[in-house]
């Protein structure tokens, strides 16, 4: 019987011809990732094992990005623990401030994650890399520790839900709107333990950036991984970046799916997720009058150059509303430079938004844009849980960069159409 792309990747890495959903396998890993929050715990566990080296110095990737540049003394200590470990073990892909970026923007850009790979990361948004046709999933620090030691991890082969998106997207509607719409439909546990395979005309039309945004939020539906089979756009993207071989795979026509969900997205409007779950979605036309205090444009979900271009298009010639703050965070140093070259940073500064060095900072309520009690923020990030961006009585509304930029101008949650 045929296999899905997820099953094929898992089977290859387990040295098996076939795998079936529910099967427990032990598989070899191409990349093991950690950050300044999760790696210190993993390092502690790794050191308890008493091993003198990691399984592969090139395949352990360490990115200080969450509370980096160091937000306080304790964060500095955690960063130091990771830096010391990286030095001791000769970790090739440790990215210091100045070279680092938000991990899930950085790894695809640096060509470290490739089609057909099996990747685990001690960060839930590791599922982002599925957009390149890899199997990538988030794990905890102990799994990361064991994987750094053995280069392997155990997996339960997930069932797959196939999503088919028919039709052409309207202007200002992108990958973020597609994935929020999907989470709104199936709920935050709608794909619990399952693979989410994204297909259809609207996915073919998305850029690689838009696809990374979609796969990034598979976890917000409880998914184990999100995945999109590579096409010519994927290959154009990875060809110039890859420094090793990769495998271009696709699901067989007779692959078995737990469910097939089809959407006609030709009339889809920009989507906003209301507090306090990503599944609380509304089309922009049904949002009503909601005033805001802050806008954040960035993160591993929407901190890529395409996102900044969308935001700049709307902010150009406008000012950020005088009662709100707008914070723009390019995902990596390369994205930052590209944004400068294209004149986007100028547009943001002219509009009186701030432009920050890459960091996860505000997304998880770390720093660089914490909300006070009762404040509201429109954010291109991925979670709007209670207290996610600051005070437990603050509110986060999730959207794509177009709605976020339009909202920054008007000081309330707004449609891009209202600004242009």
């Amino acid at each position: 019987m045929g296999m899905t792309i997820t099953e094929k990747i898992l089977a290859r890495h387990a040295g098996l011809d076939n795998v079936e959903p529910g099967q427990l396998i032990n598989a070899k890993l191409d990349v093991v990732l950690g950050n300044d929050i999760t790696a210190p715990v993993a390092i502690r566990e790794f050191e308890k094992l008493g091993m003198d080296q990691v399984f592969d110095k090139k395949r352990v990737v360490l990115v200080p990005d969450h509370f980096i540049p160091n937000k306080d003394i304790q964060s500095a200590e955690q960063a130091l623990a990771m830096r010391t470990f990286a030095k001791k073990h000769g970790i090739v892909n440790y990215f210091e401030v100045g070279r680092m970026g938000i991990e899930h923007c950085l790894l695809p850009e640096a060509g470290l994650v490739l089609p057909g790979d099996l990747i685990i990361g001690a960060d839930s948004h590791t599922c982002t890399y599925g957009a390149l046709g890899a199997f990538a999933t988030g794990v905890g620090s102990t799994d990361m520790a064991a994987a750094m030691a053995t280069g392997e991890a155990w997996f339960k082969v997930p069932e797959t839900i196939k999503f088919v998106y028919h039709g052409k997207l309207k202007p200002w509607v992108g990958g973020k709107d597609l994935i929020l719409h999907t989470i709104g439909d199936i709920g935050v546990d709608g794909a619990r333990y399952m693979a989410m395979e994204f297909t259809g005309e609207a996915i073919d039309d998305l850029s690689v950036e838009g696809r990374l945004t979609m796969a990034n939020m598979a976890i917000e539906a409880g998914g184990k991984n999100g995945i999109i089979a590579p096409d010519h756009k994927t290959l154009d993207y990875v060809k110039k970046r890859a420094k090793r071989d990769y495998q271009v795979l696709a699901s067989d026509p007779d692959a078995k799916y737990a469910k097939v969900i089809e959407y006609d997205v030709s009339e889809l409007e920009p989507v906003v997720s209301f507090p306090h779950l990503p599944e609380n979605t509304r089309p922009i036309s049904e949002v009503g009058n909601i005033t805001i205090d802050q806008v954040v444009i960035g993160s591993c979900t929407n901190g890529r150059i395409e996102d900044l271009r969308v935001a700049a298009k709307l902010l150009k010639g406008h000012k950020v509303h005088n009662e709100i703050r707008a914070i723009v965070i390019p995902g990596t140093q390369e994205i930052y430079r590209q944004a400068m070259t294209e004149g986007l940073v100028d547009i943001f500064i002219e509009a009186e938004a701030v432009v920050s060095t890459p960091t996860c900072g505000p997304c998880l309520g770390g720093y660089m844009g914490i909300l006070a009690k009762g404040e509201r923020c429109v954010s291109t990030t991925n979670r709007n849980f209670v207290g996610r961006m600051g005070h437990p009585e603050s509110e986060v509304y999730l959207s794509g960069p177009a709605v976020a930029a339009a909202s920054a101008v008007l000081g309330r949650i707004a449609s891009p159409e209202e600004v242009l």
């Binding site: 937000k71 620090s141 102990t142 799994d143 520790a145 155990w154 546990d189 979670r383 209670v386 996610r388």
Partner: protein, 166 residues
């Protein structure tokens, strides 16, 4: 192993930001994390909870971030185990890896009320509500996961395997 304790009840989709807010993730010290366990769901939780107490929750417990600090905080706060209708995938994996006992049981998660006294037999997955006398059976773990649990978590299992290979 057997656990007996008072229960603390939570709803569905309790996320890891509620279990341990990210603003406290500038440390990974269990005792520090414990002080902020469930803080954004119940501000006084840590002060009220006693060693051996049990969390009972709805669907998708532990959704969101991969932070292992979440099960670590629960364990370090003295809770003996978590019973839920269902668990989010990464939390489930993390709990097993660090040796926080978890039990998936739809009926128990629905029936048990806050403050009930509950006894759990970790080996058989039998849950008894001592307040009402009602009994439940948790979903058994797959064989491999039971091995991890029996070994005392993933790292102990990996160490054991490495020793056997050598």
């Amino acid at each position: 192993m057997e656990f007996t304790g008072r229960t603390w009840k939570f709803g569905s989709d309790v996320d890891t930001d509620a279990i341990i807010p990210a603003r406290y993730l500038n440390t990974s010290e269990p005792a520090e994390l414990a002080k902020h366990c469930m803080e954004d769901a119940d501000e006084t939780f840590y002060d009220k909870v006693k060693t051996g107490d049990i969390i009972v929750a709805g669907k998708n417990f532990g959704c969101g971030s991969s932070r292992e600090h979440a099960p670590i905080a629960i364990k370090a706060a003295g809770l003996s185990c978590v019973i839920a209708f269902s668990f989010a995938r990464i939390f489930y994996r993390n709990a097993i890896n660090i040796g926080l006992p978890i039990f998936e049981c739809e009926e128990a998660a629905k029936d048990i009320a806050e403050g009930d006294k509950v006894k759990v037999d970790a080996d058989s997955g039998k849950i008894v509500n001592l307040t009402t006398g009602k009994e439940y059976q948790a979903v058994p773990f797959p064989e491999f996961m039971q091995k991890l649990i029996d070994a005392g978590g993933l790292m102990k299992y990996v160490a054991k395997e490495a020793k056997q290979r050598a």
